[in-house]
Symmetry: C2
Subunit: 457 residues, 2 copies
C-alpha cells in the first residue's frame, strides 16, 4: 500500500507533549482564576446550525466560516446546514437564549474551547484556536460595576501566568462618540473611518494621519484633526492622572458626559477590586473594531512586548442575543486568544518547554523484581506523585537517557544492593546528583523535593 503523507492543514498549532504541558498549564491557570471569581463553566458544540451562527454576521466573518456536511448530505448535493463556530460569543448568545429559564442572572459564565476560521494560511494566523472567555450577562439591566470586575479577573490571570508586566487599558465608546460629536463628526460610520486612520498613528506617524484627516476624504479642519490626535493620545499614569485627564476634556454632549462618568466609576472600582494602579490605565485610542461594544472597552498589553498587541480584549454590549430572543440581555465580557498568545510568547522566548507531568521514573534493573518496582510506583502514585515504570527493561544508561529526554527529573533505582539494604537510590537528573533514602522514607523525601522544585522552578 502506498503511504499517505502524515500532515495537518496549515493554521493549526499541534504541539509536542512537553509544549502541550506548558500550554495546558496556561489553560489551567486561566480556568482556576475564572473559577476563583465565581464564573461557571459551559461548553457548547463545535458544530451549530449555520442559520443560527450566521444571523448577525456578514462580510469578513461569514467568508471565513467552515461549513460542515455529513456524507449523506454531501452526496445529495444539499446546501450545508451546519457550520463550525467561529467565536464563543455567538454560541453564548444562542445558549443563553435557549436556556434562559434555567439560568440565574446575572449569569457569569466562562468557556474555554476551540473556534474555527477559514483564514488565509499565513504565519501566526490560526484556523483553529482556543478562546478563553468570560462574560457576565444581566437580564434587562446589568450594573456598570461588573465592568470593573473583569479587569480584576484579567489582573489575577496574567499575574499568575507570570509572563511579565502588563497594563489593562480602558476606554469608553460613549466617551469617544460624545467627543467626536462635539467636533462635528456625528455619523458613527464616519467616526469609525476616522478611528481607522488614527490607528495608523504608530505605523505611519502623526504627519501622515494629520494629512489624511485634513485631506479630501475627510475634509476636517486642522484644528479638529489636532484635537482628534490629542484625544487618542491620552494615556494615564495613575488613577488621579486618569481623573484629571478625563476632566481636562471639558464639557461636552450627553454621550461624552455619560462615558466620562462611567469610566470614572469603573476606574475607581477597579482599584477597590485590588488591582494596583500600575496595572490599569486610560487609553483613549482603544475603539475595538466591533460595532458590538457600546460602553467600556478593554485591551491588555505586555509592557515589554508591545508588538504582540492586545492579549486580552473585550467590553460592554447592550444586548447579547437580540437575534434569538426578545429578552434584553446586556453584558460585559473579555476574551483571551490563548493559541495565538502562546505562539507569540514562544516566538518571543517567554515560555519554555515545560517540565514533564511525569515526576518520577522507576527504572528496571531486573525483570524478576518487577513486583517490587510496581509496589514502589503504587506508593508514589497513591501519594499523588506521577510515576512511570520502565516495563520494557534494557540497559540502565538507556533508561536514564529516556528520562532525560522525556523531561522527567527524578529517577528511582532499586538494584540488588538497594533491595538488600532496604534503601532506594534517587537520581536527580536536573541537579546531576544522586542520593540514597530508606525505602520507608521515599515518598516523603520525593514530596519535599517536588515541592521545592515547584517553588524554585
Amino acid at each position: 500500500m502506498a503511504l499517505t503523507p502524515a500532515r495537518t492543514m496549515p493554521g493549526v498549532l499541534e504541539l509536542l507533549p512537553l509544549d502541550q504541558i506548558a500550554f495546558q498549564r496556561m489553560l489551567d491557570t486561566i480556568r482556576r482564576n475564572y473559577e476563583r471569581f465565581g464564573f461557571l463553566p459551559i461548553e457548547t458544540p463545535a458544530i451549530e446550525y449555520a442559520d443560527v451562527l450566521l444571523t448577525k454576521t456578514g462580510g469578513e466573518t461569514e467568508r471565513q466560516v467552515y461549513f460542515v456536511q455529513s456524507t449523506g448530505a454531501l452526496e445529495q448535493g444539499e446546501k450545508p446546514e451546519l457550520a463550525l463556530r467561529f467565536d464563543l460569543t455567538v454560541p453564548l448568545a444562542r445558549y443563553v437564549a435557549e436556556h434562559e429559564h434555567d439560568l440565574s442572572f446575572p449569569f457569569r459564565r466562562y468557556q474555554m474551547q476551540r473556534v474555527y476560521r477559514g483564514e488565509r494560511a499565513q504565519r501566526g494566523r490560526f484556523r483553529e484556536f482556543y478562546q478563553c472567555d468570560i462574560d457576565v450577562i444581566g437580564k434587562d439591566g446589568l450594573s456598570i460595576r461588573y465592568d470593573a470586575e473583569l479587569p480584576a479577573v484579567i489582573y489575577s490571570v496574567f499575574r499568575e501566568l507570570d509572563i511579565g508586566p502588563f497594563t489593562i487599558q480602558l476606554n469608553n465608546r460613549k466617551l469617544m462618540r460624545g467627543y467626536f460629536e462635539s467636533l462635528g463628526i456625528a455619523d458613527s460610520e464616519q467616526q469609525m473611518l476616522v478611528l481607522r486612520e488614527v490607528d495608523k498613528l504608530d505605523k505611519r506617524g502623526a504627519g501622515y494621519v494629520r494629512e489624511t484627516l485634513t485631506g479630501e476624504q475627510f475634509g476636517l479642519s486642522a484644528e479638529v484633526a489636532e484635537k482628534i490626535l490629542a484625544f487618542v493620545q491620552v494615556r494615564s499614569a495613575s488613577l488621579a492622572d486618569a481623573f484629571g485627564k478625563l476632566d481636562a476634556l471639558g464639557a461636552g454632549p450627553e454621550a461624552l458626559e455619560q462615558g466620562r462618568a462611567e469610566l470614572k466609576e469603573v476606574l475607581g472600582l477597579i482599584r477597590d477590586f485590588g488591582v494596583p494602579e500600575t496595572h490599569f490605565a486610560l487609553n483613549l485610542s482603544i475603539a475595538r473594531g466591533l460595532d458590538y461594544y457600546t460602553g467600556t472597552v478593554y485591551e491588555t498589553t505586555l509592557d515589554e512586548h508591545p508588538q504582540i498587541g492586545s492579549i486580552c480584549s473585550g467590553g460592554r454590549y447592550e444586548n447579547l442575543a437580540s437575534q434569538y430572543t426578545k429578552s434584553k440581555l446586556p453584558g460585559v465580557g473579555i476574551s483571551i486568544g490563548l493559541t495565538r498568545l502562546y505562539w507569540q510568547l514562544r516566538e518571543a522566548g517567554l515560555v519554555d518547554t515545560a517540565r514533564s507531568t511525569v515526576d518520577v521514573l522507576v527504572t528496571q534493573m531486573d525483570a524478576a523484581q518487577l513486583p517490587a518496582y510496581l509496589a514502589v510506583a503504587n506508593e508514589l502514585r497513591a501519594a499523588g506523585i506521577a510515576t512511570e515504570v520502565v516495563l520494557e527493561g534494557g540497559k540502565l544508561g538507556k533508561q536514564f537517557k529516556y528520562a532525560d529526554r522525556a523531561g522527567i527529573r527524578f529517577v528511582v533505582v532499586l538494584g540488588e544492593d538497594e533491595l538488600a539494604k532496604g534503601v532506594v537510590t534517587v537520581k536527580d537528573l536536573r541537579r546531576e546528583d544522586q542520593f540514597e533514602v530508606p525505602r520507608a522514607e521515599l515518598v516523603r523525601t520525593l514530596r519535599v523535593e517536588l515541592e521545592q522544585a515547584a517553588v524554585m522552578g
Copy 2:
C-alpha cells in the same frame, strides 16, 4: 428582525452549568489518573485532511464522517478536502508518524478531546462526544507488560470516579483464534461471523444461537456449537480460577498457546500492579468488533448496571500507523467515551448535579460598603476560595435565593452591625444554619468548612 430559534442539532450533549461542573470533575479525575501513571498529553486538530483520516476506513465509519469546507471552497464546488476526526486513534497514528523523530518510545500519550460522527439522530447516540484515550506505542516492539498496566490505570480511574463496583474483563484474540482453529474454523471472517451470532446469547438465548450455528449458514456440528457456547461463557472468579479455566481449555494450535501464555502473564501482572482480584476477570466472550486488535482485549462493566455495557474498552494492536510510515509501531490502548458514559450515569441516577464551583457568595447590604465586600472577596480568593460578590444589590432575601438556586453553599453577610463589631455572618445554605466569626478568622473558618464539605460530600 424576525427571531431565529435558538437550538442545537440533535446528538449533542449541552449541559447547564451545574451539570457541566459534574462533567468537568469527571474529566479532571480521568486526566489526574492518566497523569499519575505517567501518560503525556497531546491534542490534535479537530479538522484533518480527509485523505489522511480516511486511509484505512471504509463502510460504516466513512459514511459517518463530517466533511468540512471553507466558504471559498464551497463556492467553487470543490470536493471537500477536510473532515472532522471521528475518533482519536487515527489522529494518534498520524501524530506519531508525523512527529516520530521528536518522540521518545515507548510513547505514552493521553488525549481527551471531542470527536464527531454523523450518526442517525437517536436517543443516547451522540454526534459529538468526548473520548478519553490512553495508548502506549512502541517502536519495533512493545512488551506485553504494558497490556497489564492499562487495567491498572482503568482501576485507578473508576475507583476514583466512584460510580460503583466494576470489573475489567479480559480476553485475547490469539486465544480465540487458536480455539476456533482447533474446532476447524480457520477463516478469520468466518470466526467473526460466528462471534457475532454468539454475541446474541444474552438477548436471544442459547437455544437460538445453537440452532443458528448448526443451521444452514454455518453448518457446524452440535459438538462444535456446544464447545463454542461453553468457550464464550467462560468467566473467572479469581486469579487462580482464571488460570484453572485457561488450562482446562486443553492443548491447541500455536495461536491458542500463545494467547494463553499472554493472558496468564497479563493477569498475573495486573495483580502485581495492585488491582484487587475482585476487579478483573477473564471473559472469553469479548472480541471487540475491530479487526484492528490482535492480542489482549478489554472491556469494563459496572457490576450493578450491566445494561450500560462497556464503559472502557481497548486492546493490543500490531501496527498503529502502517498507512503513514514504514516504521513498525505496535501499541496497546483504551478509550473512555465520557459523553455517553456521563449521559448513561445520569439516566441511571448515578451522577448528581454538582455543587457549584463557587464556594462563597459575598452579599451586598449597602452599596457604599462595596470596598469592604471586595476586600473580603480578595482575601477569600487569595486563599483559593472561589468567591462571587453581589455587585448589583437588591434585597438580601433575593440574594440568598440566588445563591441557593446557583448551588452556592456559603453566603457571607457584612451589615452595619457586623462591620461595627468586626465580625462576619456566614450562612450555610445546605445546613440551613448561620454563625458569626471574627473578621480575621473568616478565611480559616471557611477553609475548614469547605474541606469538611469536600470530604462529606
